[in-house]
């Protein structure tokens, strides 16, 4: 190995440079793409009203997620987010699983976003009269560009996310204002377009599957914990502001779309907000929402690269994965090897797998993560009651949010089971096999006491 140059510090770490706005951008940026596409499959699953009920119940689920996450992460402020929480509160094997949930949920979402960029380019090319472009270069370019941005430093990456996310959110608001309030003759036809529940109440349950799309990824804010200037304050603030933004955006999106399209069309549309803008009859709204769709996908992929690489890095640093991944770039202070490693993985799925499978893989990994959270917070409060350690934020009504969360998760498992039972079983079999692999083989390379890095007292009952 070559000798160390003088300017390099003896110890490298990630940089604390982010503020609460970046946390908001990371959380909302990953998720907002869900309003531009994907949520509308919930309409197909159970009709327009079912999608609204799913939207609010999923909103409740994610409000619980955000509250629980805010409390735990304002106390466990390290890269890896839920992975580090699990390591300190439940144990190494759970942590390994949670780390994998995170990496797969985000890498698959990144792949889905890249696929969507290709699809959008194809649509634009068709509008300009050019049939059948090759989507691959655009898919690869979006992944490579965002990986490069992430490689070069977290501040520029998340500032980029902040700008394009704000744009995409404003576009949703403007669409609502101009198609509902500010036009003399509103194109909205709710009374005539709404129908009864086509599948009855079973359809409402089924639509919870895609109800998650309205918000999937908001929990990613915790990955920034090691790079935020004051995590105890910024993380709860950014996360809770994020979930409120999304509740507003989700409800407005639903209202505009179901007032403009028959539900049968909406339930299978590729880019519903773009369609809504098209039906509003205004060219500039159409252009605005087209750009908004592109920006939302890029912001989402960008946040996914950021989050997946932090989780992978944190696992490498603890030797849960090869230690080689635990490296930090001496100049840019990013987990550069993890970022590089995940690029080809994302591309394998973006170029080779069908979109709905990639999405389901992502949703299921996310769902397993949400199931872990109530277990996590109950044990957290049990092992370290409120008076034993200082928390940046304490969530109210414990254990009500935890119970609500686990109930809603069970409903969602049932919803996924109704459509994708085989994938659900395949997915969990995968996690069982890797768990055994970790427990009986990989864990031998992990130092025992060194994993526990928080300056906390001994947990109660151990």
């Amino acid at each position: 190995m070559a000798n160390t140059t003088a300017e390099a510090p003896e110890k490298l770490g990630l940089l604390r440079v982010l503020g609460p706005a970046h946390v908001w951008a990371l959380g909302v940026g990953i998720v907002l793409v869900g309003e531009y596409m994907g949520w509308n499959f919930a309409v197909g699953k159970g009709g327009a009203y079912a999608a609204l009920i799913a939207c609010w119940f999923a909103g409740l689920l994610y409000s619980c997620v955000a509250m629980i996450d805010s409390e735990v992460t304002s106390t466990v402020a390290a890269a890896g987010g839920q992975y580090t929480q699990a390591k300190h509160i439940i144990g190494p094997l759970m942590a390994f699983n949670v780390g994998l949930y995170l990496v797969f949920a985000y890498t698959m979402l990144e792949a889905a976003n890249a696929i969507t960029v290709g699809f959008l380019m194809d649509e634009v090319a068709k509008l300009t009269g050019h049939e059948g472009i090759n989507q691959d270069p655009f898919i690869i370019l979006s992944v490579m560009f965002l990986a490069w941005l992430n490689y070069r430093g977290v501040l520029a990456t998340l500032t980029f996310s902040l700008v394009i996310t704000a744009f995409a959110f404003t576009a949703v608001i403007l669409l609502f204002l101009f198609s509902v309030i500010l036009t003399g003759d509103s194109p909205m036809r709710h009374a005539e377009l709404m129908t009864d529940l086509p599948y009855g109440w079973l359809g409402v349950l089924a639509s919870m599957h895609f109800g998650l799309w309205y918000y999937l990824g908001i929990e990613g804010t915790t990955q920034a914990a090691e790079e935020v200037r004051s995590p105890a304050r910024s993380l709860p603030f950014g996360t809770l502001a994020g979930i409120m933004t999304l509740l507003i955006a989700a409800t407005l999106t639903w209202y505009v779309c179901v007032g403009l399209m028959p539900w049968e069309y909406l339930g299978q549309a590729g880019v519903p907000l773009f369609d809504a803008a098209r039906l509003s009859g205004s060219t500039w709204l159409m252009v605005l929402l087209g750009i908004g769709t592109l920006f939302a996908t890029l912001a989402s992929a960008n946040g996914c690269i950021n989050d997946a690489s932090r989780a992978w890095f944190a696992m490498g640093r603890d030797h849960y994965l090869p230690a080689w991944f635990g490296a930090v770039h001496p100049k840019y202070r990013t987990p550069y090897r993890s970022i590089i490693f995940l690029v080809p993985i994302a591309l394998i799925f973006a170029l080779g797998a069908p979109l709905d499978q990639v999405i389901t893989f992502s949703i299921l990994s996310g769902l397993l993560g949400y199931t872990f959270m109530p277990i996590n917070v109950i044990l957290f409060r049990k092992k370290w009651p409120l008076d034993t350690i200082k928390r940046g934020y304490e969530h109210p009504f414990h254990p009500l949010p935890a119970i609500t969360l686990i109930t809603l998760c069970s409903v969602t498992y049932f919803a996924v089971f109704l459509g994708y039972g085989t994938q659900l079983i395949a997915m969990i079999s995968f996690y069982i096999v890797v768990s055994l692999w970790f427990h009986f083989w990989r864990y031998r390379f992990v130092k025992r006491a060194d994993q526990f890095t928080m300056p906390w007292p001994r947990p109660r009952g151990y």
Binding site: T5, A8, K11, P137, F138, I140, V328, R337
Partner: protein, 55 residues
């Protein structure tokens, strides 16, 4: 239409450029610094460290 053919080539080209930039820097860093320095990050030590090195 010619435009989209050009755009496709441009996308391929830019992808290659970003890829090369990353790989070149990766090789440079891995040969310049020792493995011990690169993997010296530890969880929970960040606070103390940022105090040490004003950045």
């Amino acid at each position: 239409m010619q435009l989209w053919d050009i755009l496709e080539y441009a996308a391929w080209g830019l992808s290659a450029v970003f890829g090369l930039l990353i790989v070149a820097d990766w090789i440079k860093i891995d040969t310049t610094y020792s493995e011990d320095v690169l993997t010296s990050s530890r969880e929970g030590e960040l606070e103390a460290m940022t105090e040490q090195h004003k950045l």
